[in-house]
């Protein structure tokens, strides 16, 4: 073990170190997540229009209020699904990918982006704007800016709710799509 404390901290001058504000982490791209969660299978984009009725059912099953976007759904030939969604909490916004096997069981979850901010206002703004203009080179830089954060005991409960609504999506919509594609 080799530990070097920040000398300003040792003499009790933490305030002298400019605070770093936790912002955002981009982990993997959609394409990388597809390779991680559903390796060696080609995925075809399968966007869906989410009816109000489906939207309501997903909402009541998960208690997540912001609408699900149906344009980030992919399907593999064998009936596996890859879905990208996000959960917006009071203090965080998480974009994540879920893989489902042909019978709808979750086979993997991968976090794509984690945006942390404090305060209620962030849930209101179109937070994706923060990433407008970012290129493939930027995630690396973002990740280098914020490393190794200790004491972050944020629970992943909110994300669990997100996965619940994806399960509802499968039950109500994707399952039938698998059946009708099989029938063809």
């Amino acid at each position: 073990m080799n530990w070097k404390p920040n000398p300003l901290l040792v003499i009790g001058l933490v305030a002298a170190t400019a605070p770093i504000v936790a912002h955002a982490k981009i982990y993997v791209s959609v394409e990388q997540a597809q390779k991680i969660l559903i390796p060696n299978k080609s995925l075809v984009k399968n966007p869906m229009i989410i009816t109000d009725e489906l939207q309501d059912k997903m909402r009541s099953a998960s208690s997540i209020r912001h609408p699900f976007q149906g344009d980030r759904i992919w399907r593999a030939v064998d009936g596996s699904w890859f879905i990208v969604d996000e959960v917006v909490g009071k203090h965080e916004m998480i974009t994540y990918a879920v893989a489902l096997n042909p019978s709808g069981a979750v086979t993997g979850i991968e976090i794509l982006e984690y945006v942390e901010s404090y305060g209620y206002e962030v849930a209101e703004v179109n937070w994706r704007k923060q990433f407008a203009g970012k290129t493939a080179a930027d995630p690396i830089k973002l990740n280098q800016d914020i490393q190794n954060i200790g004491g972050a005991t944020l629970s992943c409960k909110h994300l669990t709710d997100g996965v619940k609504r994806v399960a509802v999506l499968y039950d109500i919509a994707l399952k039938n799509m698998n059946l009708s594609l099989k029938a063809k």
Partner: protein, 275 residues
């Protein structure tokens, strides 16, 4: 490359700095964490921890070497900390609604980790009914296991962070930031580390509405701990850092004698504007 998955009730980040790293190594490291979760989760009715709590006072229970190792370390820290660390507080967390109620809590009293004996390296039994919660130690252990897997698969440099329990490895010094307990979105650069672990105890992200209770219980008087500051412990292995943060935050003593025994050191970050 850096990946993140929801595991252990939090977000687990694995970062590897090697160029063109083996992706299999990352997958295996996440699997090791999943295995710790499935063996030692209080929530999981199939976990070995559940079996220990349900039956170890009735009959010996055979357990996985990893579970046995965590229990052995838990006993060691319990002993060295003069009982400040004890995982036998699960029933108090259940009563507070912080853990699910799936045990018969009608026992008159529960024993502590000291009542659990390893009668063989992977065989345990208890002299009293138990309600152990490994939440204060298993996360750190999972981080260590993930690091071991990465290193065994040829990864040179990286880090594993399970909701703030961090271990770094490789020959490069890595900066460590922790949250300001008063303003958790602000990070404080507390130092840099090469080959080591740090864990932090604080309550700033607990759901602190009026009805909720602290998720830390003092094993000596069974009372809930209130904490506005945060404590971090630096150690060689994350399992020790994780367990020792409980010792330090319960005793509020960053010079607790057992730190020395485990070659660890502690840092207190006060919760004041004038920090």
């Amino acid at each position: 490359m850096i990946r993140c998955k929801p595991l252990l009730g939090t977000f687990v980040e694995i970062r590897i700095e090697d160029e063109s790293p083996s992706l299999k190594a990352l997958d295996k490291a996440f699997l090791a964490i999943e295995q710790v979760q499935s063996l030692m989760s209080f929530y999981n009715l199939d976990s070995e921890l559940f079996q220990i709590n349900a039956r170890s006072h009735l009959e010996p229970i055979r357990i996985h070497p990893w579970t046995a190792e965590v229990l052995t370390i838990a006993k060691e820290v319990h002993l060295q900390s003069q009982e400040v660390f004890n995982c036998g507080v699960g029933h108090r967390l259940v009563e507070a609604g912080l853990l699910p109620r799936h045990h018969n809590l009608n026992h008159d009293s529960f024993g502590g980790i000291e009542d659990l004996q390893l009668i063989e390296p992977s065989l345990v039994r208890s002299s009293l009914p138990l309600c152990l919660d490994l939440g204060g130690i298993a996360k750190g252990y999972a981080v260590d296991k993930a690091v071991e897997v990465l290193m065994a698969n040829g990864i040179q440099t990286g880090s594993v962070n399970a909701g703030g329990d961090i271990r770094v490895f490789g020959d490069r010094s890595q900066g460590i930031q922790i949250r300001n307990p008063l303003k958790p979105h602000e990070l404080i650069q507390i130092g840099s580390m090469k080959e080591g672990a740090i864990a932090t105890s604080s309550l700033y992200f607990a759901n602190r509405n009026t009805s909720s209770t602290s998720f830390m219980v003092n094993p000596l008087n069974q009372e809930y701990i209130e904490l506005s500051e945060s404590y971090s412990v630096i150690a060689n292995r994350c399992v020790y850092a994780d367990a020792l943060t409980k010792v330090v935050s319960i005793s509020r003593n960053i010079l607790h004698p057992c730190l020395n025994y485990f070659s660890a050191q502690a840092i207190r970050i006060p919760s004041t504007e004038s920090l």
